[in-house]
């Protein structure tokens, strides 16, 4: 089997902020991530982990360098094109669940599918299947306010997976949960990764968790130090 082309490729990717003097939150990052990989990103606070996730997630734009997703250069795309890639190819889980508070768990999971233009019925079926998968079949009609932190985070994971994205990005997805719940969520992510062969990039502070990944990427002061 020949070397598969990477699903994500960073070439000299830099994000800098200027207030007075230039500050590089991400400094000349070069990185290739293969399809189906489970990558853990570690590093001290302020080292640029979130910045890297936001850039890969097309929520932020790099100051210089190139980002390829599935071999497409996404660096200079329009809002419409970037939005479409976020919708179809990327799934997000953040430290906070960011569920829409006025919608039920089911409706929250349906939302990316509705944004993709899928029919209500089809979106509902997919969302129900995913909520079962994360163990929330009896909580589907509850709103976020009626669910625990761990449950909400599982809803957020189901939502991230609803459009079957090629890439799932988790920025400290367990950071806000107690250790036991955090471990369970992490296990769930790992299991989903094996089941569906989706690419996972997960930021974590927990070394035990990181060790379970296929690869660990360490960031220090905006620079990738270990691959």
């Amino acid at each position: 089997m020949t070397e598969e082309s990477p699903i994500i490729e960073l070439k000299n990717l830099t994000k800098s902020y200027k207030n007075g003097m230039e500050f590089r939150a991400l400094d000349n990052a070069n990185l290739k991530i293969k399809k189906g990989e489970f990558v853990a990103i570690v590093g001290p606070s302020g080292s640029g982990k979130s910045t890297l996730m936001h850039l890969i997630g097309l929520l932020d734009t790099p100051s210089s360098g190139t980002l390829l997703i599935d071999r497409n250069n996404v660096t200079n795309m329009s809002d419409k094109e970037r939005s479409e890639i976020r919708n179809k190819m990327l799934g997000f889980v953040f430290q906070y669940h960011h569920l829409l508070p006025d919608f039920t768990a089911l409706e929250n999971v349906m939302m990316p599918l509705l944004i993709a233009g899928k029919k209500r019925k089809e979106a509902k079926e997919t969302a129900e299947k995913l909520l079962k998968e994360v163990g929330l079949e009896d909580r589907m009609d509850h709103k976020p306010g009626e669910l625990s932190g761990g449950q909400n985070q599982r809803v957020a994971i189901a939502r991230a997976l609803s459009c079957s994205p090629a890439i799932v990005l988790g920025d400290e997805p367990t950071g806000n949960l107690d250790t036991k719940t955090g471990d369970m969520i992490y296990e769930l992510l790992r299991q989903l990764n094996k089941e569906y062969n989706q690419t996972f990039i997960v930021v974590t502070h927990n070394d035990d968790m990181a060790l379970k990944a296929d690869r660990i990427i360490r960031l220090v002061d905006g620079k990738i130090t270990v691959q």
């Binding site: 979130s50 936001h54 997630g57 929520l59 932020d60 809002d79 419409k80 939005s83 479409e84 890639i85 976020r86 919708n87 179809k88 990327l90 997000f92 953040f94 906070y96 960011h98 569920l99 829409l100 508070p101 006025d102 919608f103 939302m111 990316p112 509705l114 944004i115 993709a116 209500r120 939502r159 459009c163």
Partner: protein, 389 residues
């Protein structure tokens, strides 16, 4: 259903208190607008009925350089056939001097065909004594205005002496008295066309025609058609332009004030929506992460504003219609009736066209007003929105 509408509707429903306030503010403004419009149209219609309807809608006069219209019978027939004309009345009118005992006054003596004149004016209902039709069936009779009758001190049955330079003096018996509440009560008298022709010493001619229209708003258009017969025809808006001007000024200033009320209410919605944008910052960031475009975020908030406007407009017009109908039921105290020109109830006219225009205008206004908060929401940086909380 597009997800933008799904989200917009859900957020409106979730923010119950804010929604009720926003819809209430618009509804109140729209209600005032609706009631005021119904009153305005009611009073305008009333004004038309009391003034315009008593005027000839179109007046036909002799050709230039002529004093009289000859062969008027065919002309009457022809004008009656013009589309939009409902009645025609020929007349011969002029000045005359009226004397009874020692009292003497000048007034207009108008010779008419009573049955035809009846069709173009309210004279029959304005009669307070006698019967206008008696002019038709008797010779040398006269119907006079109430004020003139008072000044001359005549009563029905009395004979007044009518004279004028170059005219044949006649003695005319009073068969009726009319009261219109206008200056005509002291300046106008009616007699039969035959009697007038005898008095003014002319053959079978007239010096004008009064025309009544099916729709008095079409006066200029129908006048133009009548002019094709070769005679001069002028609509009431041309002969009495001040009536139209008064109404137009009042309507315009009224509408400007009411429009401002609605604009202010819509601004209330904008500020409420602006607050909800701030409250929804992290949701907006997450929607962007899920793939919602900047355009979609904007749409969600413009829709919310538009929907609130539409709800406010519907509630406002419905309550406005109900309030207007209630006002229309109100019986005015008898004492004040004379003050308002004999009205016993407050005139109310609800036009479906006005209601639709109000609803559409308020909806559009709110769509436009929603652009500002929507723009605030759309330009939020997704990274910052997600990092907030």
């Amino acid at each position: 259903m597009h997800y933008e509408l799904f989200i917009a509707l859900r957020q409106i429903r979730a923010r119950k208190f804010q929604t009720i306030l926003s819809v209430g503010a618009i509804a109140l403004a729209v209600m005032v607008l609706t009631v005021s419009q119904a009153l305005m149209v009611g009073f305008t219609d009333e004004l038309y009925n009391t003034t315009v309807n008593k005027l000839p809608h179109v007046s036909v006069s002799p050709q230039e350089d002529e004093d009289y219209i000859y062969l008027y019978r065919t002309l009457v027939d022809n004008i009656e056939k013009v589309e939009g004309v409902s009645a025609v009345s020929p007349f011969l009118t002029g000045k005359a001097s009226f004397r009874f005992k020692t009292n003497s006054y000048n007034a207009e003596l108008k010779g008419v065909l009573p049955l035809k004149e009846n069709n173009i004016s309210d004279i029959e209902t304005d009669m307070v004594e006698g019967d206008f039709r008696d002019l038709e069936y008797s010779r040398n009779t006269i119907v006079i205005g109430s004020k003139l009758a008072d000044k001359l001190e005549v009563n029905p049955g009395d004979s007044v002496n009518v004279s004028f330079p170059n005219a044949n003096p006649l003695s005319l018996r009073v068969v009726g008295i009319f009261h219109t509440g206008s200056p005509l009560d002291e300046s106008l008298t009616y007699t039969s066309l035959d009697t007038a022709q005898e008095f003014y010493n002319v053959p079978d001619v007239i010096n004008g025609l009064s025309v009544r229209l099916e729709d008095f708003n079409r006066d200029r258009e129908v006048a133009a058609k009548i002019e094709k017969t070769g005679y001069k025809a002028r609509g009431w808006t041309e002969t009495n332009p001040e009536i139209l001007r008064t109404i137009a000024i009042e309507t315009t200033s009224n509408n400007v004030i009411l429009g401002l009320i609605v604009v202010i209410a819509s601004f209330g919605v904008v500020s409420a929506l602006n607050l909800s944008v701030i409250g929804a910052t992290s949701q907006i960031g997450m929607l962007r992460a899920m793939g919602a475009t900047i355009f979609s975020i904007r749409t969600i908030f413009v829709l919310q504003s538009g929907i609130l406007g539409l709800l406010g407009a519907l509630v406002g017009t419905l309550t406005g219609i109900a309030a207007s109908l209630g006002i229309g039921q109100y019986e005015m105290p008898a004492a004040s009736s004379e003050l308002y020109g004999g009205l016993t109830t407050i005139p109310i006219v609800i036009r479906i066209g006005d209601i639709l225009v109000i609803i559409l205008a308020v909806f559009l206004l709110n769509l436009i007003a929603g652009i500002y908060p929507a723009q605030q929401a759309a330009k939020l940086d997704p990274v910052k929105s997600i990092s907030s909380k």
